[in-house]
Symmetry: C2
Amino acid sequence: MSIQKSLQKILMMIKERDTNLAEFFQNLHPSDFAEIVEDLSDEQKSELFNLLSDEEAALVIQEMEELDQVVLFQLLTKKRASAILKEMATDDAADLIAELPEEDARELLKLIDEDAEEIRGLLKYPEDSAGGIMTTEYISFPENMVVEEAIRRLRDLATDAETVYYVYVVDEETRLIGVLSLRELIASADGTRLSEFMRKNVIQVPADMDQEEVARVVSKYDLLAVPVVDDRDRLLGIITVDDILDVIEEEATEDIYRRVGASEPEGVGLVEATVWNSIGRRLPWLIITLFGGLLSGSVIGAFENTLQSIVVLAFFIPVIMDMGGNVASQSSTVFVRGVATGEIEGSDSWRYFYKEIRVGLSMGLITGATVAVAAVGAARLFNLSSLLGLVVGIAMFTTVTLGAVIGTLVPLLFSQAGIDPAYASGPLVTTIKDVTGLLIYFSIATLFMPLL
Amino acid sequence: MSIQKSLQKILMMIKERDTNLAEFFQNLHPSDFAEIVEDLSDEQKSELFNLLSDEEAALVIQEMEELDQVVLFQLLTKKRASAILKEMATDDAADLIAELPEEDARELLKLIDEDAEEIRGLLKYPEDSAGGIMTTEYISFPENMVVEEAIRRLRDLATDAETVYYVYVVDEETRLIGVLSLRELIASADGTRLSEFMRKNVIQVPADMDQEEVARVVSKYDLLAVPVVDDRDRLLGIITVDDILDVIEEEATEDIYRRVGASEPEGVGLVEATVWNSIGRRLPWLIITLFGGLLSGSVIGAFENTLQSIVVLAFFIPVIMDMGGNVASQSSTVFVRGVATGEIEGSDSWRYFYKEIRVGLSMGLITGATVAVAAVGAARLFNLSSLLGLVVGIAMFTTVTLGAVIGTLVPLLFSQAGIDPAYASGPLVTTIKDVTGLLIYFSIATLFMPLL
């Protein structure tokens, strides 16, 4: 059934106050359900959620965008809201609580008492850290349990845990000492003790690790979940691979936006964000670019006399700026992404930089020669010496080479200094390569002026 | 144990021909092992792999980069290589076979006979399609099997399957009719038939679906694996979430590179790629930029007389070009990424476009006013009328507005025409905004010239 058809069906059920949603719900994935809910009016949302059980409501809400969750929660009574919260995974519940107005959050935490401690615990960690994205619904057993009992216990616990595909083995002080996949468990003989076949070298992450780093660990080791521990190796929670998918997507978007000086709107979609929200995220970058552009312009101002004598020099300003700009953004983009994916790390940076110098020199030669030919043509047209070709060619060669060098060197130095290199690829690189490119162009032109 | 220490230990074991690697291997993740292998000499690699069992070798090779896999395979005898191939997951084996020289590939496929059919089947699909990334090692049961037997069968099959976390239910003609998660299976009573509690609305993908689309499905529904079917709904294979993590990372990189006219080197790392490889990937873009830049320059050429009279106009060329450029790249970047993540789809595109116009107008007003002040300062310095501020301000306002409009409209039209919008954000947008920006600037200046 298409989403559109499902929407109509749901609208009819709401109208007729049809309480037989259970069956319908079973054939519709909560994620599709959530998409439908987002298109309903507030009134329809209220009516629909009155027809759902707490558990069904929790499943749907977990799949909704944060902003929509907050809106919906403010339509529900506090009692209902707390009942639904109890059914949600602790990580999702904590994320939602963090977005609610403080007053509401406090009241709800009071109402759910039993899980409140866990949620409050999760709220302590920064949003982008391992602790901030973990859930506390994992399964852990003591080391001397036997396979048969573990499988029996699992069958009881399966409906509540976030994942049953890893079973963690802990000692008396809840320190993580081993891990078993469900597949290893079901493939083992009944009487075996967990300690006999658990893997002891558990891949784990500390609670304060950045989520991007966590994603790299999960991806490298092909894990379905990774355990989070405190500084004494005590098991705090797990992060499942479906959350890691979101982290990778989110971090890639953040990197991409950062490179052009735009950040993602918080808790609201691109399309829904207000005009002022968009401007606020983008204007600072543009103001810096503006002053950078005026600085580059002052280089031209300094060579006013040269330009006054040979006004055709202005003709090549755009091509020199554009080429320097595009080479620099190629270089910085490839380098920054290489660092983000871990392809370039440690001493690779400098090896890559030296190669980039050779790439810049080669591309500078080719484009310099090409533009020199165009300049000779222009010189003929304006009755100037063909030496203009040499001037423009040399300027292009140095600009392209410098573009590649600056485009790599600036983010490289940023990353060595511990600053996200994505920040380096914007106005700073633009300004440095414009100022140097124009300076070289006009200096050479001034030098050759008597001959042109 | 650190990777460095492990490397030393392995080197010693190789030297002493220590066949007792099994225990050592158990404490080292294949992925870490693979990293170590990549640092060894060819001779050391050969010796090391002689000490490993076929199964161990397969686990390590699966975690290596494709290029390193090919190098290693050419060090092994065909007999050994085929034995290792048999132990590999069919998707990884097929990917490796596809990279080998044709002669070697044919010979190896002959030697492994039993799995060869499956691997040949996988090689039929395009590399970036669902069929190209799926594996054939899934578990499927008939609908009338009972839970108890399914669990028993699973315990036997667990070591060979790529994932045991989903069990697919098929009819006599291997058509996919249901799915069960291992967690649902172990949570159910022994005597229940699978057909009684399997989910019938299986989320599945056709073999020719693009991998980016597949990733979106897996991410949306939080799946650990997704089944791949042919046009008659017959089950062909599955794609597991660990491969999806790689797809998301790969597609993000591709998007990022495409935007600056650089593609990723094939089968070789960024640092290892040759200078000519890098140039070949980047130069075409630059040559287009070069001609675009000359075109923009010809706009300046057309206003030679204006510029000759008021040479200070050249001072503002960089700031107008830079601002138009940065606004356009912000707009195109945010739009293209929004489309890639699915945040902007269908009619959202136009709603987003209309909002972007308002964003552009507002940012144009602010930056236009700012630069006008700077221009009034410059006018005083060069004894020109303060009207220069008005000229530059209006030019900046229109350039920034147009930058936002063009930066969104070009990729929007590309995506409506079914072309990847990432291609639209490069030289084309640069040239359009430069030509229009400079045209407006010099037209207004020419108009006001008598008053300046």
